[in-house]
């Protein structure tokens, strides 16, 4: 296992470098100009100056090399400097990856600023989805074709097929406009210091979490159900039942444990998606998270920001793939990596 891990970790490095190159090349080749979002009254000469100021007219290898250096050397150094409050070399002169849309602002600072909102909303939605989906999936499988199963299947179908922008709008109209229960503007600056502010935070994430949670729970519940159904007719289940164990014990100890193996893997693989945020949902509820950051950056042709955010997503996906494999090995003793 240890050797396997080392090998996997080592292969991550060339993979990531290849990914970074592809991302960089695609974005560089793609049409689009960061000055296109500027007012039409600005003359072409001025636009050219702005592009030059952003470093846009350098040749591709230079730009790529600069980004690699900024991202893999300068950014970690800055991170260490701020984390331990020390000075390494000439920190002032070291160029960090900075945004084009908000010139001078380091991209990493923007990402760090967005992280909490995304984790609160999308992360919470994911937890809610798991908490609902697993029990619903289990009961649906055991009581297959019962009323519960039928209703569950119906709701899953609805949850899966209705887009979040629709449920989101519906929620706003009902709970914000008509009932006035929840705010429709997400307050990024809200600090949780006491009971009241916690309640307020829960109120402002309630609607986006419900919308996203419903959507994700639908998928997970279907998956859990079918995984359970795969295991129910197995010989070991019959053996356990024959031994005279109570149904509850058989379901929880035997069927559920085996059925959860693929579900847990699926959950682990879904974690990077939490970080990438839910672009549409964030937009509707004004949660200024990572998804909103990425879409805004794409609209403005803010290439350094798009590059960095996309690369971080790629990194997370690679890492959580590894994590999923490792979890799989831990959960299922039959699988041995060598």
């Amino acid at each position: 296992m240890g050797q396997y891990l080392v090998r996997r970790v080592l292969t991550i490095i060339p993979t990531l470098i290849a990914i970074s190159f592809v991302i960089f090349a695609v974005l560089d080749l793609a049409p689009g100009d960061p000055t296109s979002a500027l007012p039409e009254t600005i003359r072409p000469e001025v636009r050219q100056q702005i592009r030059k100021a952003m470093g846009l007219d350098e040749p591709f290898p230079v730009k790529y090399g600069l980004w690699l250096r900024q991202f893999f050397v300068n950014e970690p150094l800055s991170l260490i400097e701020t984390a331990f409050d020390i000075q390494i070399g000439d920190g002032e002169k070291r160029l960090r990856v900075t945004s084009w849309g908000s010139r001078g602002v380091p991209v990493m600072d923007m990402i760090v600023e967005r992280m909490p909102q995304t984790l609160w909303v999308v992360g919470m939605a994911y937890l809610v989805a798991i908490a609902i989906a697993v029990p619903v999936g289990v009961v649906s499988a055991i009581r297959q074709y019962s009323i519960f199963d039928q209703v569950g299947t119906f709701l899953s179908l609805i949850g899966y097929s209705i887009p979040t922008f629709f449920t989101g709008l519906l929620m706003i109209l009902l709970f914000s406009v008509k009932l006035k229960w929840f705010p429709m503007i997400y307050d990024t600056n809200l600090q949780i210091v006491d009971w009241n502010s916690l309640v307020q935070q829960l109120k402002q994430i309630a609607m986006p979490v419900a919308v996203l949670g419903f959507f994700q729970a639908a998928t997970l519940a279907r998956f859990t159900r079918s995984s359970m159904l795969d295991n129910i007719p197995m010989d070991y289940v019959r053996t356990a039942t024959a031994k005279g164990f109570r149904e509850r014990y058989v379901v929880i100890r035997h069927i559920l444990r085996n059925s959860l193996i693929p579900v847990v893997t699926l959950i682990a693989l879904g974690i990077p998606a939490i970080f990438s945020g839910a672009i549409i949902t964030e937009q509707i509820f004004r949660v200024n998270g990572l998804g909103a950051l990425l879409i805004g950056a794409i609209q403005l042709n803010d290439i350094p920001l798009v590059q960095t955010v996309t690369f971080i997503f790629a990194f997370l996906i690679v890492v959580f793939n590894l994590v999923a494999d490792v979890i799989y090995g831990i959960l299922d003793p039959r699988i041995r990596y060598s």
């Binding site: 979002a37 500027l38 009254t41 600005i42 003359r43 001025v46 100056q49 702005i50 030059k52 100021a53 952003m54 470093g55 160029l95 900075t98 945004s99 849309g101 908000s102 010139r103 001078g104 602002v105 380091p106 600072d109 923007m110 760090v112 600023e113 967005r114 992280m115 909490p116 984790l119 992360g123 919470m124 994911y126 937890l127 706003i172 914000s176 406009v177 705010p183 429709m184 503007i185 307050d187 990024t188 600056n189 809200l190 600090q191 949780i192 210091v193 100890r253 444990r257 959860l260 847990v264 974690i271 509707i284 004004r286 200024n288 909103a292 805004g296 979890i327 831990i330 959960l331 003793p333």
Partner: protein, 590 residues
């Protein structure tokens, strides 16, 4: 049994660990925030209001940076305008009002030189930056240097064109020298697109270094009513009352400038839930907006600058038989077969119900107009106002009188044997297509048939010299779009001189899109470029407007504005189309 127990514990432990990770990250978040207990939930809870008076402004496009110099959007300019100030502002009528300056320099008070080569501004006494340091003339000079340095990549450098030097004569006096006589010397340092920045704070941020000044760019010192205490890029900016402000202290303690979302939900947040005090640029269907306003919480307000939706009448022949010569001016040798006969376009203009178009299709964002220069007020001619009433009978009579008759009985009139059939293009946009359909219907009632065409905006306005569908090539009889003058109309009017006619030779580069050439217009325009601001200049602009409209080069339809909304409880809002909508935010109160 034992082994199984342990591994099920593992699953639980893993899930718990995941949950903990998710919960732990947000918990660390507030340390990154600011030391203030801003509370946006203020609409309903009056108790909160007593503690802290908060103004919440909603922009559905979030600000990238506060200030106009490194990021050119209105959102950025407006986020800056809450704290940054220019020497003078434009008020909603287009009048220049002093801000940091003592008074507006004119030729009469000696501030503008007789030869129109320089302007001298004087700062108010005792101005302070929001950190308490002194504002001096050097700051103004520095602002010019900062923005005109090519390496800065300044998005507002347009306003400093034609300036040879900016000097500080003493601590409070600034002299701007132009490289040629400039009848309108108020482009630089007037309006929210050229505010003054601190020479001390930005000293190391000139040129290429501007790209690395994170702290300065996101929290510039200002002289305005509020000062920035927190700026989250593309999200939210928080301001507090500026204790060093030169004006009356503000009513609100805190301003929250929140971005993101979409226009319709921004309107809803003000008009239906009252969560925000002010929402900007509500591009929402007029009916929907009216319904929201009916909820009774707030009102919709409109800001007008100079934009006019209008129909351009091709003065040259665009017939496809002409091949490459279609819509070519050819020194006047290729006139349009019937649109250059004045009664025809006159009748077309008379047949239009401009009130209906502006009310039904534009709602709060439109007013009917008969002028191509619709504002500022002192430049607006009133000699064309008769067009505001639709007169189909009059139009028919006018055509009959001039022998433009339907001779073959197909319902379409002919002129010199040519049937009055028109092609009419515009960009693809639901409001524009509805306007087209209305005009087509009215013109049919006076015996003129119209073929409606629309092109995707990126093609129509794209300017690709290889595409036949651009507005510059104008291969149709009529086309419709919006442009408008800036506060001083000279630049806009310069488009309509004969020299500016687009043609093959200049790769369709000119601004005289309708291809109308009038010697009278050119002569008056030449005079305009040498006439300083004053009644004489105003009269000239009105004349130029009238020539353009009365020569039937363009049919103005709707004077277009921008729509915002604010709560009824918010007082002091005076929405401004010429300057930032935030121009008088310091005077807002409840």
């Amino acid at each position: 049994m034992m082994g199984k127990n342990i591994s099920s514990l593992r699953i639980i432990a893993l899930l718990l660990a995941m949950a903990f990770l998710l919960a732990a990250c947000p918990a660390a978040a507030p340390t990154g925030g600011e030391g203030m207990a801003a509370d946006e939930e203020m609409a309903e809870e009056e108790v909160m209001e007593e503690e802290s008076k908060v103004l919440t402004i909603l922009y559905w496009q979030a600000a990238s940076l506060p200030g106009p110099y490194l990021s050119g959007g209105t959102k950025d300019q407006d986020a800056g305008a809450i704290t940054l100030e220019p020497l003078a502002n434009y008020d909603p009528n287009g009048t220049i009002v002093p801000r940091l300056a003592v008074e507006i320099p004119t030729i009469e008070n000696g501030g503008v030189s007789e030869d129109l080569m320089s302007i001298t501004w004087t700062l108010k006494e005792g101005l302070l930056w929001s950190d308490g340091s002194d504002v001096t003339a050097e700051d103004v000079v520095f602002t010019w240097q900062y923005c005109s340095d090519e390496a800065t990549g300044c998005t507002a450098s347009e306003a400093f064109l034609g300036i040879e030097s900016v000097e500080a004569l003493d601590d409070r006096t600034i002299k701007i020298t132009f490289d040629s006589p400039t009848p309108y010397p108020y482009n630089a340092f007037v309006g929210a697109n050229t505010p003054i920045i601190s020479s001390v704070q930005f000293a190391d941020c000139v040129g290429a270094a501007a790209q690395t000044c994170n702290e300065q760019n996101t929290a510039p010192l200002g002289t305005g009513p509020y000062r920035i205490i927190d700026f989250k890029v593309n999200d939210v900016a928080v301001y507090e009352r500026n204790p060093h402000y030169h004006g009356e202290p503000t009513y609100f303690d805190t301003v929250i400038f929140k971005g993101g979302g979409d226009a319709a939900s921004a309107a809803r947040a003000v008009l239906e839930t009252g969560e925000a005090d002010y929402a900007w640029n509500l591009q929402v269907e007029p009916d929907i907006l009216r319904d929201m306003e009916a909820a009774g919480l707030g009102r919709v307000v409109s800001a007008f600058a100079g934009y006019v939706e209008r129909v351009l009448i091709n003065q040259t022949n665009p017939h496809s038989d002409l091949g490459d010569d279609r819509s070519e001016y050819m020194e006047g040798d290729n006139p349009h077969p019937f649109l250059t006969f004045p009664p025809i376009p006159q009748a077309m203009s008379m047949a239009i119900d401009r009130n209906l178009i502006s009310e039904q299709l534009y709602g709060f964002a439109g007013q009917p107009t008969c002028n191509v220069i619709p504002a500022p007020l002192h430049y607006v001619s009133d000699s064309n106002d008769s067009c505001l009433t639709q007169d189909i009978d009059g139009a028919n009579a006018l055509l009959d009188e001039n022998d433009v008759l339907d001779t073959d009985g197909d319902g379409i009139r002919e002129y010199n044997g040519v049937p009055l059939k028109l092609s009419y293009q515009t960009s693809t946009n639901s409001v524009r297509q509805k306007t087209q359909a209305l005009l087509r219907q009215w013109w049919l009632q006076i015996g003129i048939e119209t073929e409606l065409i629309n092109h995707d905006a990126s093609v129509f306005f794209g300017g690709d010299p290889n595409s036949p569908d651009t507005y510059q090539k104008f291969y149709t009889d009529l086309q419709m779009y919006t442009t408008g003058p800036t506060i001083d109309p000279q630049q806009h009017l310069s488009n309509w001189i004969c020299e500016q006619i687009p043609m093959r030779e200049n790769s369709w580069g000119g601004g005289n899109i309708f291809r109308g050439c009038s010697a009278e217009f050119d002569a008056l325009f030449e005079q305009l470029t040498q006439t300083p601001v004053g009644p004489e200049r105003e009269a000239l602009v009105k004349q130029l407007n009238d020539i353009n409209v009365q020569n039937n080069y363009q049919i103005p339809l709707v004077y277009r504005g921008e729509v915002s909304a604010h709560l009824d409880t918010l007082k002091g809002v005076w929405i401004n189309g010429w300057d930032s909508q935030m121009w008088n935010v310091g005077e807002w109160h409840r």
